[in-house]
């Protein structure tokens, strides 16, 4: 019996290391979750003469704030999912066009379709820095009071939308 103890210890260690493999090192918890949407004043992507601020994000109840760029391959992968979500009309999606060129970004949306209720233009990444953006795409879930409730790092997948986003949204609506 004594001889089996090291075997159990080893199995425990294996289980610990194996569960570590399943963690994604790119998913760094954001200190902004639970805090109010970070303040900004920035131009709209579609219209340089119009400036908007963070209050827009919670003006019509809960919303998603999706950080994207035309140079980001994972954003392209995610785009169909955002379009589908916008078509369902369950939650308004606002965009943050991060470190991009206006004309390129506009063409990208014209070509692929525009899921965003409005897109904030952030050519030098100033707004992104204040929001702790470090990898695009990132998506913030903002509640009706303007509090950041969750952050998704990396592309939204159909699975993530069904199993995580929609339940969270239902909970937010129940709070109302």
């Amino acid at each position: 019996m004594r001889a089996i103890i090291p075997l159990f210890l080893f199995a425990g260690l294996l289980a610990l290391l194996y569960s570590g493999l399943a963690l994604n090192p790119r998913e760094i918890p954001s200190p902004l979750v639970g805090k109010p949407a970070v303040a900004f004043i920035a131009e709209l992507l579609s219209d340089p003469s119009q400036r908007i601020d963070q209050r827009l994000l919670s003006a019509k109840g809960p919303s998603l704030f999706n950080v994207w760029a035309s140079w980001c391959a994972a954003c392209l992968e995610e785009h169909g999912q955002l379009l589908a979500l916008a078509r369902r009309g369950v939650i308004p999606i606002y965009g943050l066009n991060y470190k991009d060129e206006r004309s390129t970004a506009q063409r990208w949306l014209a070509r692929l379709g525009d899921p965003y209720a409005a897109t904030v233009f952030d050519p030098n990444g100033r707004v992104g820095l204040d929001w702790g953006v470090y990898g695009v795409p990132e998506t913030f879930l903002i509640d009706q009071r303007g509090i950041i409730r969750h952050k998704y790092i990396g592309p939204l997948t159909p699975e993530l939308v069904e199993k995580d986003l929609l339940p969270r949204l239902a909970k937010l609506r129940a709070e109302q």
């Binding site: 760094i28 990444g125 929001w131």
Partner: protein, 159 residues
């Protein structure tokens, strides 16, 4: 192309490859040596979130360049080291610090290795004590008698 010429060219190209990291990250000049030191120390102590095993001083990622610019501006504005670290942890969390603060969520990180070491030492001591006690047990007179007869028998078997 003459061999000597191509050889010289390859040496030049190789030198370019070697010097690449040196000119990729622009050094910055501060008029105040104290600010220069603060800047250097901060970028060495802060971690790039994209290339997670590199400090801001080493990383060539776009984000690292942005954060270096930001730290540059803050240092020139006369902000303290603690101010700047707080500025970054407010946005990116403790993850940006290579030297995270001691608090409840980092106890395991800071004290875990010592706890393991102490646990290991205790285990080792118990193990060694058990072993030495087993060696120290003396034979009873009965056992000594038996041992003697066994040894004698052995000798008589193989003269």
């Amino acid at each position: 192309m003459k061999p000597s010429y191509s050889c010289a060219l390859s040496i030049v190209l190789f030198a370019c490859v070697l010097s690449w990291p040196a000119w990729a990250i622009q050094p910055r000049d501060f008029s105040d040596p104290q600010q220069q030191a603060r800047y250097q120390q901060l970028i060495a102590e802060l971690r790039c979130l994209v290339c997670q095993n590199e400090s801001l001083a080493e990383s060539q990622a776009d984000l690292a360049e942005d954060l270096r610019n930001e730290i540059d501006v803050l240092v020139r504005a006369g902000r303290s080291e603690q101010d700047i670290k707080t500025y970054l942890t407010d946005r990116y969390g403790d993850f940006v610090l290579y030297n995270p603060p001691v608090k409840v969520s980092t106890y395991l990180l800071w004290f875990g290795p010592f706890a393991l070491m102490v646990g290991g030492l205790i285990f080792l001591i118990i193990l060694l004590r058990g072993r030495s006690r087993r060696v120290a047990v003396a034979l009873t007179t009965e056992e000594q008698q038996r041992l003697k007869t066994l040894l004698q028998n052995d000798r008589s078997d193989h003269p």
